[in-house]
């Protein structure tokens, strides 16, 4: 199956600043792909590159089988794009905007439009410039979903929204999921975890890993080893052990290459005097915090393993 979005060594520089650095990414068809990373990581730039809003400095991308550089005009009949920074035609009413956009899309679904208007409780007669941020985002969602795009790209769609609006948008999005591929960037990890199928982590322009959400959850464990006597932090710990720390008889770290079959045995051999070894599953938030806090070397290892596993898959 061809990936819906595919990038090869995609890079973007702004002067001496590297915003996106050699990113190889593949988003499978039908996936809900969440691109996460701290502020300034390059998420928006990466999206703008494969949406042909910005031109790459190096590398290339394909979207829906088309070269991203050729993505213009009718290509956008199949792509929905919503961004927190997107400027809407503020002088128009919500209804006016939907009427206007309807004229561009041959596959615009009027019934779906009306359903989305009801679902998002959109005030059709109010001008966009008079809407709250949440309402503007909902209007933007409705105008990008009503033509049943094959790909929906969302750039920080939930940023700054209240939980109620967020839930409404996520609900609207999940309803479209069976018929489309969704790519979204966010640092709102809790929401993403609940519905994303794939996740990628971008830091300082580099994609540290990109893999299925279940695979990611399976390979990260919060490991607590209770030793029989107080012990300093052992030397030469594996790079895949993030944030190692000791307190009295307890050694804690985040294992980024956990394997249910081999990891307990391996740790048992390494710490023969351990009284207890506990493996706790981690939330997405905990995983990203661990990655973000850990050193560059450890991250490299995490990234390496993620990429390796993805290749195997």
């Amino acid at each position: 199956m061809n990936p819906t979005i595919c990038t090869q060594s995609l890079s973007k520089r702004f002067g001496s600043t590297v915003a996106v650095d050699n990113v190889d990414l593949a988003v499978p068809e039908g996936a809900i792909y969440a691109l996460v990373g701290p502020n300034g990581a390059g998420k928006t730039t990466l999206i703008k590159l494969f949406m042909n809003i910005l031109r790459p400095t190096a590398g290339g991308a394909q979207v829906l089988g088309m070269d991203a550089g050729q993505l213009t005009g009718a290509c956008f009949n199949r792509i929905g794009y919503v961004s927190e920074n997107l400027e809407l035609p503020d002088g128009m009413t919500v209804g006016g905007m939907l009427d206007y956009f309807r004229g561009f899309y041959p596959n615009w679904d009027r019934a779906l439009e009306q359903q989305l208007v009801r679902q998002f409780d959109l005030p059709l007669k109010r001008k966009l410039k008079h809407l709250s941020r949440g309402m503007r985002m909902k209007a933007s969602f409705a105008s990008s979903l009503a033509y049943r795009p094959s790909l929906i790209v969302l750039d920080e769609p939930f940023s700054g929204l209240d939980p109620l609006v967020r839930d409404e948008l996520i609900e609207g999005l999940i309803e479209r999921a069976p018929e489309t591929t969704i790519f979204l960037s966010s640092h709102d990890l809790a929401e993403i975890e609940s519905f994303s199928s794939h996740v990628g982590y971008l830091q300082q322009g580099r994609l540290l890993f990109s893999e299925e959400m279940t695979a990611l959850s399976n390979r990260f464990r919060d490991v607590t080893i209770t030793l029989s006597s107080p012990s300093p932090l052992p030397a030469n710990l594996p790079a895949a052990w993030l944030e190692p720390q000791t307190a009295d008889c307890v050694l804690r770290f985040v294992q980024s290459d956990f394997d249910e079959g081999s990891s307990p045995r391996e740790l048992g051999r390494r710490f023969p005097s351990a009284r207890d070894i506990a493996f706790e599953p981690m939330t997405l938030r905990q995983i990203f915090l661990a990655i973000a806090k850990s050193g560059r070397g450890a991250q490299g290892s995490a990234a390496h393993q993620g990429t390796a596993r993805e290749k195997e898959a």
Partner: protein, 524 residues
């Protein structure tokens, strides 16, 4: 096409207020634009005349707003606009904006121009070519630059600041040029250069617009716009050099000169002129000449002068062709004082010795054509192939008396025409059968007419500055009168050949020059 109309109708709905204001300004200009050329001297006429001038300025300002709003509705600068990830095609978007300009800018303006022509007494269908040329000129000098600037700016405020910057830059360059060209000779007007400059500017602006719509590469488009002034200055420079080089071809030397020149110095007549001193100062050198030999039915017009100066020691200086003033010679003898500008360094080299001066004149010989003589009507009157004229009435105590005539023509100045009539020193009511005796003459128009000269108003006022219009030739002197019924003659001339004529002056000494502080005074 659907997408073009879709975007167009959106813009039309969205900018109805701007469109309404622009149309209202254009309509108001049509209503009172005639006061630009009617020359009514009463208070109401003067107020409406000022209002018409204001409206003539407001029309392009309303275009500026209209163009900016339309282009910025889908602005091309930035990466957060809603439309760049929608199924717009750049050709449709650009076409929609052009359609918007055609419908709400060009069409109303074209209609307004036709209505103004009708008001002035010119049937518009006879001037379609000129109307279209005027639209083309306005497109190149106003619409395209504004559109191009709108495509490379992100908001009305930024465009306004950009225009302000360009305006200040233009003034600064003009000031520097004026300072640098202290008393420089008037260059030959280069039709080739100005046409190439216009073409370069229009193409450059159009290229920037298309580049922006097709690629949205702001700095590339800005680069094209920034390169334009440089290209235009270079073109002007090279075109003037080309024209200088072509002068002998344009004005070939022939055996039969259309006029004879003699040097007629008058030691009792002197004139004094002053100008700021500088190392770049150009010294004006005048030559008192007499011309004869213009044939009956002809006029001769000197267009340019070139001087070659040779000193007794053999040292030599030759000027470039320099444009001449408004001399027009008819049969008979007349005196005139052409001049050349000489660099200060050359003056210093030659001023102490008698010189041999060879003057070349580039002249155009024109032949009289249509002659229209009519008894001066009290009301507006039409002169075939010239324009529409009307009497100019003066203030009290001349109230109701004709003290001159105003003429207008459609889209461009009339063909070169010699106007002659007779003045009366007394009020016309007191004339009682005797004919007025003082001759009043004027040259109006041009030999090299364009189909249209750029303007918001399609009606061009041609000033008929009749000679001898005052009894005493002093400021505020008493006016003479033009009486209804007095014969007035319009003689049109057309160029038939261009050639050169020359004169050699022996023992010419350069005028005395006095430098006081930073002022040069020259007496000759």
């Amino acid at each position: 096409m659907n997408q073009i109309l879709h975007i167009f109708s959106k813009d039309a709905r969205r900018f109805w207020a701007e469109i309404f204001i622009s149309l209202a300004i254009t309509a108001a200009f049509v209503c009172i634009g005639a006061y630009l050329w009617l020359g009514k001297e009463d208070a109401q006429g003067q107020v409406l005349g000022v209002l018409a001038v204001l409206l003539a300025m407001l029309v392009p300002i309303s275009w500026w707003v209209l163009i900016t709003r339309a282009i910025h509705a889908e602005r091309l600068v930035g990466d957060t606009q809603f439309w760049i990830t929608r199924p717009y095609t750049w050709k449709n978007l650009l076409s929609a904006k052009l359609l918007f300009l055609v419908v709400f800018l060009y069409l109303p303006f074209f209609i307004a121009q036709c209505l103004l022509l009708v008001q002035a007494g010119f049937p518009p269908h006879l001037y379609l070519a000129g109307l279209l040329v005027n639209l083309l000129l306005l497109t190149g000098t106003c619409v395209l630059p504004l559109t191009a600037l709108a495509t490379v700016t992100s908001s009305f405020a930024r465009l306004t600041l950009t225009l302000l910057g360009i305006f200040i830059g233009f003034i600064a360059v003009a000031a520097i040029a004026a300072f640098a060209s202290n008393n420089q000779p008037a260059g030959m007007e280069s039709h080739v250069g100005s046409r190439i400059c216009f073409a370069i500017a229009a193409l450059g602006f159009a290229a920037a617009i298309v580049l922006q719509y097709a690629l949205r590469r702001v700095w590339l488009a800005r680069g094209v716009l920034l390169a334009l002034p440089v290209l235009m200055v270079a073109t002007t420079f090279f075109a003037s050099k080309y024209d200088q080089a072509r002068m002998d071809h344009t004005y070939p030397v022939t055996q039969a000169a259309p006029l004879q020149l003699t040097y007629t110095p008058d030691p009792h007549s002197t004139s004094t002129s002053g100008f700021p001193a500088s190392s770049r100062a150009m010294i004006p050198i005048d030559f008192r000449l007499t011309e004869t030999g213009v044939g009956e039915g002809y006029a001769t017009i000197p267009d340019a002068i070139r001087a070659q100066i040779t000193a007794p020691d053999g040292s030599h200086w030759e000027s470039e062709w320099q444009a001449m003033g408004w001399y027009r010679f008819l049969p008979g003898e007349s005196h005139f004082t052409p001049g050349i500008s000489m660099p200060m360094a050359v003056y210093n080299r030659f001023h102490s010795t008698p010189l041999k001066v060879h003057l070349d004149f580039a002249v155009t010989q024109a032949q009289a054509g249509r002659v229209t003589t009519l008894a001066l009507p009290a009301q507006r009157f039409s002169v075939p192939e010239f324009g529409v004229c009307s009497g100019q009435t003066g203030w009290a105590p001349l109230w109701g008396q004709m003290t001159g005539i105003n003429c207008v023509s459609a889209l461009s100045e009339p063909p070169l025409t010699y106007v002659s009539t007779r003045w009366s020193d007394a009020a016309c009511s007191a004339l009682q059968g005797s004919d007025p005796e003082v001759l009043g003459t004027a040259w109006v128009g041009s030999l090299d007419r364009e189909p249209a000269q750029i303007g918001i108003s399609p009606v061009v006022e041609s000033r008929v500055n009749l000679s001898n219009n005052q009894i005493e030739n002093t400021p505020g002197g008493k006016s003479r009168y033009l009486c209804p019924g007095t014969p007035i003659t319009f003689t049109q001339y057309t160029a038939i050949r261009r050639t050169q004529t020359s004169i050699e002056i022996q023992g010419f000494t350069l005028p005395q020059l006095k430098v006081e502080g930073n002022q040069i005074t020259i007496t000759q």
